[in-house]
């Protein structure tokens, strides 16, 4: 493509480009437009989600194919959105080109449910579907004003994951069961191996984000949000819990953030041997098996704080676009994917736990030594969700919590600032 052609050369190239664009317009009419011209069946519906790792896509495609085999009159187009998933979905919803069925994280559900863009599923559910089989706390995350808007496909809780070798090296055989034990054990596990004044291994790997800390602030009776959907996490009860985290980091110096040790996540810190314990989700297990195969790790329930068990639960549901033109077909897809058979096929990969208790039992997650602590956590977990203002609250919390962690402010100061800013934004945004 040489520039500096004589006028005729350049001009004809331009014309060629325009003609090319024009031709392509004819050739590439989007498939859905073509499908629309045909009869009502076969029906094509679109399914959107993200993928947590490259293998996931293959697995989901297999499950979809099994569905299509059973429903020859339905075609499923799987469209992955891998970046800014919610931004893209929201934009497409605004533009009326959103997928028929899509993933929705519990965190984001309240906003969409409130804006009435999802189809309530209650009327589609039959007794045969066995709704009672679902873990009820996960279901509740997708209820709004008494209606059910999504069916959770899987969930993950947090559990304590620790390096058995490092534990044995300092003579510890049992994982800590209370938070006080965790603090004590961390001290033993924080080691400067070569005496160069730099800690080589920290006891505990810390994730300084609200998503991982809500259960901590609830331990002494604190609440993240109040009755009227405003943030209340700066009250003394919440602070009591959070102070434990700050103290371990600042005073004991036995915990570390990922950026401190050059990692990008708690799992990575544990895998690289930079920390001896961390609290992570089920996704860590396939990650360790694949990326750090030599790591000798074990899991346990999150240590109790103030005598109370607590952990976080993250769940994602399939939801139906209220404006879909193929409600029956969309429902069939959702029903299959969250039915016993579909969920069983999906949950085999071990990235997250199935939300149906029967499938959980059948796949043996209750007994598996690695997964059992996660499964047990489902009973007392706090779901990562808190109304439509949570994103605002989370952003402000994360912002200031780090500041307290770094010692720039005291915890009460930082949290008050975060709470006030969040509440002001909530107030003004309404």
């Amino acid at each position: 493509m040489k520039i500096g052609l004589k006028k005729s050369g350049l001009g004809s190239l331009i014309l060629a480009a325009i003609a090319l664009v024009g031709c392509l317009k004819q050739v590439t009419r989007s498939p859905s437009q073509n499908a629309f011209k045909q009869e009502e069946s076969p029906v094509t519906i679109t399914l959107s989600g993200w993928q947590s790792n490259p293998n996931e896509k293959q697995l989901l495609k297999q499950v979809i194919q099994a569905f299509e085999a059973k429903n020859p009159d339905i075609n499923v187009k799987y469209e992955v959105v891998n970046s800014e998933y919610m931004d893209v979905i929201k934009t497409r919803l605004i533009g009326d080109v959103a997928p028929d069925v899509f993933y929705l994280d519990a965190l984001e559900a309240p906003l969409l449910m409130q804006y009435n863009v999802l189809e309530p599923l209650d009327s589609y559910i039959t007794p045969a579907f066995n709704l009672a089989d679902f873990e009820s706390s996960m279901l509740n995350a997708f209820k709004h004003n008494g209606k059910l808007y999504g069916l959770p496909k899987d969930f993950s809780t947090l559990a304590l994951i620790y390096n058995k070798k490092t534990f044995a090296a300092v003579g510890i055989t049992q994982p800590p069961q209370t938070w006080d034990q965790l603090i004590a054990v961390s001290k033993k596990l924080t080691i400067d191996q070569n005496n160069d004044q730099k800690t080589d291994q920290y006891g505990f790997g810390l994730a300084p984000e609200l998503a991982r800390q809500v259960f901590v602030l609830k331990a002494f009776g604190g609440q993240l949000m109040g009755q009227n959907a405003y943030a209340t996490f700066a009250d003394t009860k919440s602070l009591k819990g959070l102070q434990l985290v700050i103290d371990q980091y600042r005073r004991d110096r036995t915990s570390a953030q990922p950026t401190d040790v050059g990692a990008t996540s708690g799992s990575e810190m544990l895998g690289q041997g930079k920390v001896a314990m961390t609290i992570e989700g089920t996704w860590a297990i396939p990650y360790f098996k694949e990326t750090f195969p030599e790591l000798d790790f074990a899991t346990a329930e999150v240590p109790t704080i103030n005598g109370k068990s607590g952990t976080m639960a993250f769940t994602v549901a399939y939801v139906m676009n209220r404006k879909t033109k193929h409600k029956k077909a969309a429902w069939k897809l959702i029903a299959y994917l969250t039915g016993a058979e579909g969920m069983n096929a999906w949950a085999k990969q071990g990235l997250a736990l199935p939300t149906r208790r029967s499938v959980l039992a059948r796949l043996g997650y209750n007994q598996s030594p690695l997964y059992a602590p996660f499964a047990k956590g489902a009973k007392y977990a706090t779901i990562w969700q808190a109304g439509k203002n949570l994103p605002t609250v989370r952003m402000n919390f994360n912002n200031q919590f780090i500041s307290a962690l770094l010692g720039e402010q005291t915890l009460p100061q930082a949290m008050k600032k975060a709470q006030d800013t969040a509440n002001r934004e909530i107030y003004l945004g309404n």
Partner: protein
Amino acid sequence: MSALTKDRWRNRKAGDSLAGYLFMAPTILIAGVFLILPIAYAIALAFQKVQLLGDVSYQFTGLKNFVRIAQDDRVWIALKNTASYVAIVVPIQTMLALTLALILNSQIKGRSWFRVAFFLPTVTSSAVLTLIFMWIYNSNGLLNGVLSFLHLPTYNWLGDPNVALKGIMIMNIWSTAPLFMVIYLAALQDIPETLYEAATLDGASRWEKFLHITIPFLKPVTFFVIVMGIIGTFQLFDQSYIFSAGSGGPNDSTLTIVLLIYQYAFKNLDMGYALALTLMLAAILMTSTIIQRTLFKEERLD
């Protein structure tokens, strides 16, 4: 224009108006629909409280969104971050670009290779570049490795609020300077050799030639480089977003004004307010451009 007769002058004038618009036609059409129309829509929304998702509603609120700006702490933090960013990055990257262009325009051996090598950061998309830099800035990464090798202090580039923004600055200068270097290189080609030859005959030194021929000739291009530099840095988003995973942290230290706008627009779905902030940003940029325009007095058309 004195060579033309009066008649031809009048015809030329009328022909000029037509020609002008014909030349501008594609731009007017395309920019009108895809650039100006969206902006007009955005301006309209800035004066409203709008809900676009679900049951669409518009509610005229006048200046309420703008009053809110004055009371919003995070806006001022973002402006301060962005302003200090601009004040440091633009001069450095402009001078670096000019210096590199001058050096690479001369008879240095291997200048083609240097030009290609230097341009590598610019040719890479900013997303990819930021990811690469996340690794380099890793506490155990390349940069700290080199620093400690040289017995210089190391930092937690990603986690320490005091250095996070500086880390982004370094990355930005390094990746954007070559872009302006290329533009300066192109501009340097257009300076007629005859001017330099005449000056040499007059006994001018190299420095005098530079000051009196090169610099004035580069004025229009420098105007472009600085205006685009300011606009670009004021609109810093990608690096800040990837660096802080969208939060602008730690502790708002990497919060830039566009990141803030994005948070309001897409996270809170508070479109009206986000667009009011955008108008404020546009006003700031417009003012700065006008100021520069008067500083860089241009040759007017005859």
